[in-house]
């Protein structure tokens, strides 16, 4: 009788449903009318589950589409303005714009941050010069027999 119902429903309600059917039959055989009504209810339950599943899928699709739309909008917003539309012929080309920007003063905070890698490289070269190179030269001279 339960095969008309979805599996998840059978696992959740199957035992108590059959217990109720047994109680209501009170030892008699199930009538065809009862079988038809149970089959109809099972098919309705399948339809309900299918509707729920399709609604969840639709909601998931809409959520993904909305997130994609948001990310795409953010990327378009942060791209340089030159990429949004090609400049008209009478305006300056992108190369001139970039050159002009290079001549503009750089804020102090950006200069400080940009100088950190160069300073680190200089410190590394000094360390090599003062500690490692004399040791290497001494080793080479000893290997070639010089005092």
């Amino acid at each position: 009788m339960l095969r008309w119902y979805p599996r998840a429903w059978r696992e959740r309600y199957g035992k108590e449903f059959l217990a109720m059917v047994e109680d209501s039959l009170d030892g008699r055989r199930p009538t065809w009318r009862l079988r038809v009504s149970v089959a109809w209810a099972g098919l309705r339950e399948r339809g309900h589950q299918a509707r729920l599943t399709s609604q969840k899928a639709l909601l998931r699709g809409l959520t993904r589409g909305w997130l994609t739309f948001q990310v795409a909008g953010y990327l378009i917003a942060v791209l340089p303005s030159e990429f949004k539309a090609s400049p008209p012929p009478a305006r300056q080309c992108a190369g001139r714009v970039l050159l002009r920007r290079r001549r503009e003063p750089v804020p102090a905070t950006r200069m400080n941050l940009a100088g950190i890698p160069q300073l680190s490289l200089l410190l590394f070269i000094f360390a090599i010069s003062f500690f490692l190179l004399p040791f290497a030269v001494e080793t080479l001279l000893r290997r070639h027999g010089s005092p």
């Binding site: 309600y13 109720m20 059917v21 109680d23 009504s37």
Partner: protein, 111 residues
């Protein structure tokens, strides 16, 4: 509008979910006890399919909840949202009933 469903999700007097909530209002019951009680107070015979379809919807909406049981017959009880939904539905029905009785002149003329 005749087909409009109230906010509680319960329809009119022969609606199985409404009958189940009324039956559970005086204490937990399992499936067969629910069917017998509903037949006694409403004269409506609910088959296993209709009864468990309504139980499934009510549990999905959090209006009833199952109680732990070692037996195959699992009892259900009404929840607080279920009591509120039942009270709202019954108040709505009482308003409609009073209006109908008043218009028939059977309720002392109150509308």
């Amino acid at each position: 509008m005749a087909s409009k469903r109230p906010a509680s999700g319960l329809r009119r007097e022969n609606d199985p979910p409404l009958l189940i909530l009324i039956s559970l209002a005086d204490g937990p019951k399992h499936g067969h006890a629910l069917a017998k009680d509903i037949a006694a107070f409403a004269g409506v015979t609910l088959g296993p399919g209709a009864l468990y379809g309504a139980i499934t919807r009510l549990e999905e909406r959090g209006l009833i909840e199952p109680l732990g049981s070692d037996d195959r017959r699992r009892p259900y009880q009404i929840t607080s949202p279920g009591s509120a939904a039942l009270a709202a539905a019954l108040a709505d029905m009482r308003r409609v009933t009073r209006t109908g009785l008043a218009r028939l002149g059977l309720d002392g003329g109150r509308a």
